[in-house]
Amino acid sequence: MTLSQRLARAWRWTVAARPGTTLAIFLVLTAMSAWGASTLTINTNQLDLISQDLRQVKDVKRIIDMIGGNGHLIVALRGSDPEILKKVADDANTWLRSDTKRIRNVTYKVDVEFLRRHGALFMETPDLKEVRRRVDLKLADTKKRADPFFMEIEETKPYELKLDDIIDKYTRIGKRSIADDYYLSEDKEMLLLLVKPMWENTRLAETGELLERMRAHFKTYGAGEAHGVTLVEDYDGQPNKDGKQVEFGFGGTYTSNYDDSYLIKSSLVPVSGWAFAGVCFVLLLFFRRHILAVLLVISGLVLGVVLTFGFAKISIGQLNMITSILGGILMGLGIDFGIHMLYRLGEELGAGEALEDALEKTVASSGVASIVSGAGTVAAFGSLTMSEFAGFSEFGMLAGAGVIIIGTALYVWVPGVLLLLERYKPGTAKRMLGGLVASKKNKPAGRLNKPALWLGLTVGAAALLASFAPKVNFEYNTRALMVEGQHSVLLGDEVNRRYQISSDPVGVYSKTREEAYNLYKLFKPLDAKKHSTVDQVVSMFAFVPPMAQQQANYQVLQSWAKELDTIDRKSLPPEYEKKWDEALKYVKVKPYTIDDVPEALRAMFRNLPSTKPENQGFLTFIYPTVDLWDGKQMLAFSDQVETIHTPDGKEYHAAGTPILFAKLARIVLHDARFTVGITTILLLLLLLVDLRSPLRTFVTLLPLMLGVGCMLGAMAVLNIRLNFMNVVVFPIVLGYGLSHGVYLMHRFEEGASPMEALRSVGTAVACSTLTTLAGWAALMAAAHRGMQSMGTLACLGMTATLIVTFTVMPAVMQLMHDHRTSKS
């Protein structure tokens, strides 16, 4: 007795001998799993997916403790009248602040009068002197023309005072416009409210709820036409021309995190629906009259998926953003066991075997093949469990466990139900499956002619396509993975354009003010080579010009003030008098230090009162020049600022979403290579143990190797790129692609000729591949382009391996069969 036969016999004695008891235990377990699965929650906190021991994660958590969260939820108001925008913002602020349960604080204006008044000290001294020169010319000209006795023989135009070219250089201090207290854009068409919720930006459910509350509030507010305007949510980037409408939109880190996950989640139902419909369609296509058999398998599949989610409850306790899509994928993968089982069982029943014997033979043949192929899939998923990224490791664990659970469930449920039905109504199984595979006893299978030529042609064609494989590119731009025209992204672009700011900054923590100052000094001036990705560094010291410059400017201002003091104020017309007093304030400023800067400005760079003692300190923000959507540029920015050394020998670390995502990107890229390598080795070992022959192992691997090569070649030709999302599909394609060769080779090992093997197993392989394809192809219907790319890669890979299986393998097996028969 072979090992397979012994396994099948053991299965018969345990599972098949007492089908009622077996099914009862199975159903009880399933019921318990269903109860457990019903209590499963989806943890939408992306931060929990990364190892909490990582320094980058700890740094971000410190910032969250210091300032209540990383980034903001931005409410942007757009309109043609800045005064109306201010009024609407005031009302919005009042409402938001009243929600003390959800809102920590709202920032939409900061008193920058102090900075405006000391603006002259921020100027470079030559600029200040030039301003003085031009103002003096204007004053002299105005005084001249104000003289009632002034007249000209040759008329001249009044001196036009133009200072924009100089003033424009200094309207922003520390990334903040000082032209207005409100967060108005330069063109005065947009006003921002920076909302800090009570939770961090990775808590997606709470953010979603807050967004809906704000939408509902603005709808009610707009209906009341406060200040004569309606309020409309809009992301077209242009204010309404008639001025009777204010447009609002949501952006910022909180919103973009939520939008991305919301789009993924909202895709799940239609994707799962399409997957299920696709699987059912393929099954009905192949099984036609045998609907009851299909229903039996599908019911077993669903029970297996329920058991898997029950396992998820006791093992991990919750799902995450990635494991939440497991249902559809497991359906597509798990159905294969049922399909191969049905086909083999139908074949055995069609050959006149009794049900129990037919089942035993099915287990011995396709059951063992299913174990091997399933083991390959489990190995691929298992390699993901070693990832540092919990999104992948949990996915790998649950998917791998799911394949085992579903396989077991099908081989318990389907035979158990058939045996019970057979007991009460003999002949049921044959009626359900009879004729599924026509008896081929008296029908010769035929022979593949000229196998060597056929092999040469097919391998040649595959190799030609695979030759393009090295040209496959990696898409580093994460924006390409998102839904086109995602609102928070559009608004982010508009804000960046209107406010001339780059992406969200990273924060560098320092314990003392002195350390914060040393950090700030390090970047002044910016080393364009060492910090090529850095746009600006902002800390509270950005509000204090260098003392040497202050002193030099003070000299200029003092002499100017003396000059202006000689002008008799009483001789001025009354409309000029107020402006004169105002102007003198700007000229009579004195140098100041950080302690003179208003607390409201300094507080932006310090911890909240509620911060734990060990996290109290100061923050310095580093703004990037580069587009952080571009993964390569994000990595470069992270490399330049993640670790900072000051001249006094201290080390600091930047923290924030870009650093986290850079770390994540590195983990994904590393894990992609690692999992593919590990999977390949595991598959090789698995086949060697199963087939005990290097030649047969090589032949079984052939569809996979050539199929993957063709897949990569096709990707290069069609310019389909690998990216941070679809790269996780790679090991799955490897694991699944192995199954084609395994089933064919096992059938061939039983003594069947290649064409007999194809006839017997080929339909099952085609059916199972198409059902799996249906599962993955459904992802291509998702609005999220990252999910689409996963579906595309999976479909390309599985189609390529299937085609190679039906072209290359028969030729190779024919040559082996010819050699086998000639030897015997």
Partner: protein, 163 residues
Amino acid sequence: MHKTLKRTIGAIRYKRSAKALAQFDGPVQGAYLAGSYWAKATLAEQTEFVTLFHKMFAGVAFPNIQKNFTNLETVLYSKPKVSGSTATVDAVIVILHPLKKQEIQTTFAMTKSAGAWKVVDVTVKGNPSMLQRIRDEQVQKILAKGGFPKLLSLLRARVAKIK
């Protein structure tokens, strides 16, 4: 001297330009403005200059002064400082604007001509005098470029523009 000034200010205020101009010593003004060019000019040129200059004065400066005098409250004159046939008189022109009181401190330069005191120049405190400004910023530059004929031609063009 005070009477001359009062007459002058009153005439300007009530738009009696001819009467106001009669209080000015044109030839002395012309000599000051043209400097060395004055002696070289013919009598006809000198006469034309004074006429044109006074027309410009009346057409450009008088309306400005009238505007300032809209809310004129009073003019406070100091004691004249006489030096031979020349004198200076400080005066404070008090204007009562709706929101505040404005005081324009002025100094009038006068000469005695044919037994009567005439106004030559006026200075607002903190500014160059009226004639000094016109001479330094305009007349001397024009004379240097094109002499008296050029100056007269520009004055004619300027006066022609005045409505």
